[in-house]
């Protein structure tokens, strides 16, 4: 039987030796960006910007009506109209940060998320970012499981699949939405979480 300590040591050595590869890859990606300049459509550029943003964590758009407590409270008080539209209407306009240009939120597809199947109480997503990404596959389900209303989360790095089982009634609550937004924001800084919630609730 191999000694676990030796195995750990070996693992450390391998990963230390691997250190220059990320630099090379980053350089290669920048070169690819140069090639892509002017040959890809704007949609692709937007997707690219979103994907790139996941590392550097660009400042989230400040003028987000749905993020303000006023908007969310307002939505609760008047359930007759659409929660999203009402939240947007109620929210005070916050002037965008002058240092960072305003960047609009992106839809699911633009963030590399595809909805494979959705019924009330269960949604299966495909996350490109989670392919072969063990870290994300461990962290995201753990955080999602803590969202009120979420009953189970399963992730697969082989397919990038994320299966979320939830209680639709609980998920509609403001607290759950806020918590979900907080979790998704960590990994998808420009994702419009409301679009995900709408798909989850079949709205």
């Amino acid at each position: 039987m191999p000694n676990p300590e030796d195995q750990k040591k070996k693992r450390r050595t391998v990963l230390e030796g691997f250190n220059n590869v990320p630099k090379l890859l980053e350089e290669a990606r920048q070169a690819v960006d140069e090639v892509s300049m002017g040959v890809q459509d704007q949609g692709a550029e937007a997707t690219a910007a979103a994907t790139r943003g996941r590392k550097t964590g660009p400042k989230r758009q400040t003028a987000l009506p749905r993020k303000t407590s006023a908007g969310l409270e307002g939505r609760q008080k008047k359930p007759s109209s659409s929660p999203v539209s009402q939240a947007k209407a109620k929210a005070p306009a916050i002037p965008p940060d002058t240092d960072t240009p305003a960047r609009p939120l992106l839809g699911l597809g633009e963030c590399g998320i595809r909805v494979k199947h959705a019924i009330p109480g269960r949604i299966r997503l495909r996350l490109h970012k989670m392919l072969h990404n063990d870290t994300l596959a461990e962290e995201l389900p753990a955080l999602l499981a803590a969202v009120p209303g979420v009953t189970a989360v399963e992730a697969s790095t082989a397919t990038g699949s994320l299966l979320i089982t939830f209680n639709p009634g609980d998920m509609a609550a403001v607290k759950a939405r806020q918590k979900l937004d907080g979790v998704m924001h960590r990994f998808f800084p420009r994702l419009d979480t409301e679009s995900l919630v709408r798909r989850m609730l079949g709205e």
């Binding site: 990320p22 090379l24 890859l25 990606r29 070169a31 690819v32 090639v35 692709a44 590392k55 072969h132």
Partner: protein, 275 residues
């Protein structure tokens, strides 16, 4: 109209020829007409695809030397033993043409394009150009002819990433100078061995670094069936269609078709030899 894809990487052994032949066969199995242009004087793609057609009168040498003497381009293309897959063969003597191509550049680097492009775009859905493991004249000929460049990298190999970097820089130069329509298709991760830490870390890092539209979702596993198929002189689909490598190439073909969905609209199809 079809699309022309050049498979390029400065590093050898990353799976350019394997990808070219197996991807072509996978496309052929999906009822697409695919032409493999063997620009590598090692002629491995030629011997894999045309092993049963040793009597080839015409080859790439004549095109590169500009010695076609009015022979129609269709005479240079031979059907392989796989349905829907054709090959424009090469011979080892082509290597000796390199000095001449350099001296008479830049026009000589566009010869393949001038001879081939119009014809192959009308008659094939996909044209895959297999290039040698360098960034020399043959690779330039290939990039000048292509619409897209695909760069395979070997999971775990830092040298292949260095090759990727050099290849991408060359692609950019070609795009600026001679072939403004050349685009970077995607990186293909090859030889993935999920059992090894270095391979897993490499794959994860690559997916993390590149954008979604810069790397193929499908990666090709390291599979002994590739070597066995190579030894048998056939593609992996003929050797063992159930091998993990064959499955991966099927998925890759589907992914490629998805990428080009709506773009590959084959024009009229005059009967071309046998299929």
């Amino acid at each position: 109209m079809g699309v022309v894809i050049a498979i390029v990487n400065n590093k050898g052994g990353v799976g350019k020829t394997t990808a070219a032949c197996n991807l072509a066969h996978a496309m052929g199995l999906r009822d697409r007409r695919v032409l493999v242009v063997d620009l590598d004087p090692q002629c491995n793609a030629t011997s894999l695809l045309l092993s049963k057609h040793p009597d080839r009168q015409h080859n790439l040498y004549e095109l590169l030397a500009d010695e076609t003497r009015g022979t129609p381009i269709s005479r240079f293309i031979y059907p392989s033993s796989y349905a829907g897959v054709f090959c424009l063969p090469n011979i080892p003597e082509t290597a000796s043409l390199e000095p001449e191509l350099i001296f008479s550049s830049p026009n000589s680097l566009l010869r393949v394009r001038h001879h081939l492009r119009d014809y192959v775009l009308r008659h094939f859905d996909f044209v895959i150009i297999d290039t040698p493991p360098n960034l020399g004249t043959f690779v330039l000929c290939g990039l000048n002819t292509a619409d897209f460049a695909l760069v395979p990298v070997k999971a775990g190999s830092a040298f292949s990433v260095a090759g990727l970097l050099k290849a991408v820089r060359l692609i950019n130069e070609v795009r600026i100078q001679d072939n403004k329509n050349l685009k970077f298709l995607r990186v293909l991760i090859n030889c993935v061995d999920k059992r090894t830490l270095i391979s897993r870390a490499f794959t994860e890092q690559l997916f993390r670094t590149f954008r979604e539209n810069q790397v193929f979702r499908t990666s090709i596993p390291g599979n002994t069936a590739f070597e066995q198929a190579e030894a048998a002189g056939v593609t992996i689909f003929r050797y063992n269609p159930r091998a993990p490598g064959a499955r991966a190439f099927r998925e890759l073909a589907q992914e490629l078709l998805d990428i080009f969905a709506g773009e590959t609209l084959p024009a009229e199809r005059p009967h071309h030899a046998q299929s």
